[in-house]
């Protein structure tokens, strides 16, 4: 009934990352890492470029939330972060997952890593004001991070615990962060995903006492929009006249209605009442695309949805490699994507590298050589018969999934049919979310259907899934490595990644991909996408496949800010 809450959750996860024990540095592979952050994408003008359009007009977002607005905007509250970060609050540096970690300096105009990447110095942008008129300073940044240390519940990315953040100090217009270890991979979290809050608001009253539960109903941020007003059914954002990019944002008003279900949201998108959609639309041609020539869709993939087998020896069947190989060879992923996801999700591949987003990490030749570039049910059948199973004498397996994720149920119905002829009798078991979580984390399953969060390179998702420290013995909760894959060589690869250079990192990922094909620890089926529908009748400046300057779904923060800084109203230009 509310199926895309799952896809929403999954992809929202993709914009963040859990920092497990990790070392090394990265982000050496993009051009503006030590620059002073001027322009970014070429076509519509970078988000920090000079304004090139006139201001005016408005836009309505259709993104199903499932309940009415609480009108809270505290960026430390994970439930309301999607409506506050990017609209009202901003991060230090924006990192674009879709353009190979291309950076756009926001509140920090530049930064400099130390040689061993255990410390980083940000230089704050000048002449930035909070929307109540107070000046933005480096103290605000330090205070934000110190709050996360003081009240661990606000440390949403475990920076002080997992990433090894040791101190954050402000001096003049510079902020210095020091870490226990090389912190390159965490840049995505602390620079891109933390919304900076004003010290003068958050150091007084209930905000200071309980920054994790404070309701922040009149948010004071540096971002392009202010909230005015918010009611249970709708949030109206108005342009911040003092925004530090003069002439921006172009749109004067943003309407963000509360949708309780996908149905009405999709109807509004189809009729043009809303212009920016971010959920799964079934039968999208009839319901949306055919309704107007100005309706478009482009949903870039960001992570995998996969069958997670249980590799622990206590599960006799799934711990056998031929069984897993048979499963992955038997799957016709095109059909799964077509029927399960309405054709709106691309197929995944056995290396676990999401293409085309991370194309450069993908070893096409190796995939073809291993025979994983197309389904091979005959080989699957022979693998199973080698173990004594056939269609008349099948191996019985149960796969657990979450109740309510109907697109996953549909995909699994297709999987079940595809596994039948090779000798596997699959039973799909729908569980309530918490029951599912319990069994998944504790390793109490044969197969599970699940999608993880991702990050700006395949390293994040793969490391989560395959690193042995993310695992745990059966009966104890694992953090991310639910299949219990334990491989020292792959661990070593992940350990090398942070200190490797660009080419080295690509090579490491390709080797991990090879291990994925060799050991089949996870069986990716389709690629989870950023659902995105957009209407061009009045609004231009959208991110497109040709110009993916940000993840386009409205629930991605802080990417939403980039979109808001690019879009403009055609009618207001006259």
């Amino acid at each position: 009934m509310k199926p895309t809450r799952i896809t929403f959750a999954i992809v929202a996860l993709s914009a963040s990352l859990l920092a497990a024990a990790c070392s090394g540095s990265t982000t050496a592979n993009n051009s503006t890492s030590t620059g002073n952050g001027t322009g970014t994408s070429a076509r519509e003008g970078g988000s920090t470029d000079k304004a090139s359009h006139k201001q005016g007009g408005s836009l309505t977002i259709a993104n199903t939330q499932g309940q009415t607005w609480t009108c809270q905007f505290n960026p430390f509250n994970p439930a309301v972060n999607p409506v506050s970060l990017g609209f009202v609050y901003e991060p230090l540096v924006y990192v674009n997952l879709l353009q190979d970690q291309k950076e756009t300096p926001m509140l920090a105009s530049s930064y400099q890593w130390s040689a061993d990447k255990t410390s980083i110095v940000f230089t704050m942008r000048q002449n930035v004001k909070w929307n109540d008129g107070q000046p933005f300073t480096a103290d605000d940044v330090a205070y934000t991070f110190d709050t996360m240390k003081r009240v661990p519940a606000t440390d949403l990315y475990s920076l002080w615990t997992g990433a090894g953040l040791r101190s954050v100090t402000a001096a003049g217009d510079k902020v210095t962060m020091t870490f226990d270890q090389a912190a390159g991979p965490y840049f995505f979290n602390f620079a891109n995903q933390v919304g900076i809050v004003p010290k003068h608001i958050f150091s007084t009253g209930p905000a200071a006492a309980h920054p994790d539960t404070w309701d922040d109903r009149a948010p004071v941020g540096t971002g392009p929009y202010k909230v005015d007003p918010c009611s249970a059914n709708n949030i109206q954002y108005v342009a911040n006249p003092d925004y530090w990019q003069p002439g921006k944002p172009y749109l004067a008003k943003i309407q963000y209605p509360a949708y309780l279900d996908n149905g009405p949201a999709n109807l509004d998108l189809g009729s043009g009442k809303a212009q920016w959609g971010s959920q799964f639309i079934p039968n999208i041609k009839a319901l949306y695309l055919n309704k107007s020539k100005d309706n478009h869709t482009w949903s870039p993939p960001v992570t995998n949805v996969a069958i997670v087998p249980n590799l622990d020896p206590s599960h006799a069947a799934t711990s056998k490699l031929p069984v897993r190989q048979a499963i992955t060879l038997a799957l016709d992923r095109q059909k799964i994507a077509l029927i399960g996801e309405g054709g709106q999700q691309p197929v995944a591949n056995q290396t676990g590298v999401v293409v085309p987003t991370f194309q450069k990490y993908y070893d096409q030749a190796a995939v073809a050589a291993a025979g994983y570039d197309k389904p091979n049910p005959d080989k699957a059948k022979s693998l199973m018969s080698g173990l004594g199973y056939s269609e008349s004498n099948p191996l019985k397996l149960t796969i657990i999934t979450i109740t309510g994720y109907t697109d996953w149920d549909a995909s699994l119905a297709v999987v079940k049919q595809q596994l039948k002829p090779i000798g596997i009798d699959l039973t799909v078991s729908d569980l309530a979310q918490q029951t599912f979580d319990d069994r998944l984390y504790n390793g109490n399953f044969d197969l599970a259907y699940y999608g993880q969060a991702g990050g700006p390179t395949p390293y994040y998702e793969l490391r989560q899934m395959l690193y042995s420290k993310n695992s745990a013995p059966i009966g104890k909760p694992a953090s991310f490595n639910y299949e219990r894959y334990l491989n020292k060589d792959v661990d070593a690869l992940f350990d090398k990644y942070p200190t490797a250079d660009d080419a080295g990192q690509v090579d490491i990922i390709k080797q991990v991909g090879a291990a994925m094909m060799r050991d089949v620890p996870i069986i990716p089926t389709t690629e989870s996408v950023n659902w995105f529908q957009y209407n061009t009748e009045d609004i231009a400046g959208w991110p497109t496949e040709a110009d993916p300057y940000a993840q386009p779904a409205a629930f991605n923060v802080p990417d939403v800010e980039q979109v808001l800084l690019h879009v403009y109203s055609k009618s207001a230009q006259n």
């Binding site: 996908n262 999709n266 039968n283 009839a286 109740t403 549909a410 049919q417 078991s429 309530a432 029951t435």
Partner: protein, 318 residues
Amino acid sequence: MTALLVDSSTATGAPVRRRGGGLWAAVRGSRKAMVGLAIFLVFAVMALVPQLFTSVRDPNALQFEPGLGSSAEHLLGTTALGQDIFAQLVYGTRQSLVIALVAGFFATVLSVLVGVSAAYLGGVSDETLTMLTNVFLVLPTFPLIIILATYAGKGTLLVILIVLVVTGWSYGANQLRAQALSLRNRDFVESAKVRGERPSYVIFKEVLPTMTSLIVANFLGAALYSVLTAAGLQFLGLGDPNSISWGTMLYWAQSQQALQTGLPQWSLAPGLCVALLGVSFALLNYAFDEISNPALRPARRPRKRRRLRARRTRAGGP
């Protein structure tokens, strides 16, 4: 009380003692009951031999072109995933009937147990049982069901049956207790006691048979309640989405926005079946009301008598 009017004892609700034959004759005589029975029989046949109605053997298999409209091949078209809607409907009958009959039966058994025991044991036991019944009556059962079904972790048929029985017995228990109490003081019961019969004999051989029509009416009511509530639960997604039943069809249709994407029959047909099954129970129930309370029977046969009565009334005389 003159002979022209109905017997007051029946008018106040205590049923006339009937044996089986009388019951069937009464059912046959009531048009409503026949319609209800007919509908029920159609569904029963569908549940027992679905193969008679459709050539599809595995209705949940994704074997057809998705999103087709009605045609000779697919009487109700296909779902957005490529399943024959009519086939799903036919095969789904089984689960709905099972739920109705099993949950209805056990709920009625529980009602009879609690209601009649309360009436017979009297005293503290009666007070306790009555209090228990009232508590369950007043508890908002649907929210309770939702909570129980969700927390059971998986929406299997067994879970649904258990929650339905646990929440559905209290209505009947009250009614049955009231009637058992009134029967307690009736002559035939007194005479059985005087004869020295054991209480269990009195209950099973004298009282319960007299309450047959009320028990049957309760069963029908419980069956109706079970059908509607189970459908509601499955519609909300608390059932097993991979099972074959009308409720899960509704769930899938809703999540795929069948109404808006041009497949309204996917949503409406299973709902109609739930409605029809419910109607059949309701009609039978209503007919049983009339049987046990002849005052309610439609005065169909004696048309002349009715007009006579009306004329008399208007004239102001008795």
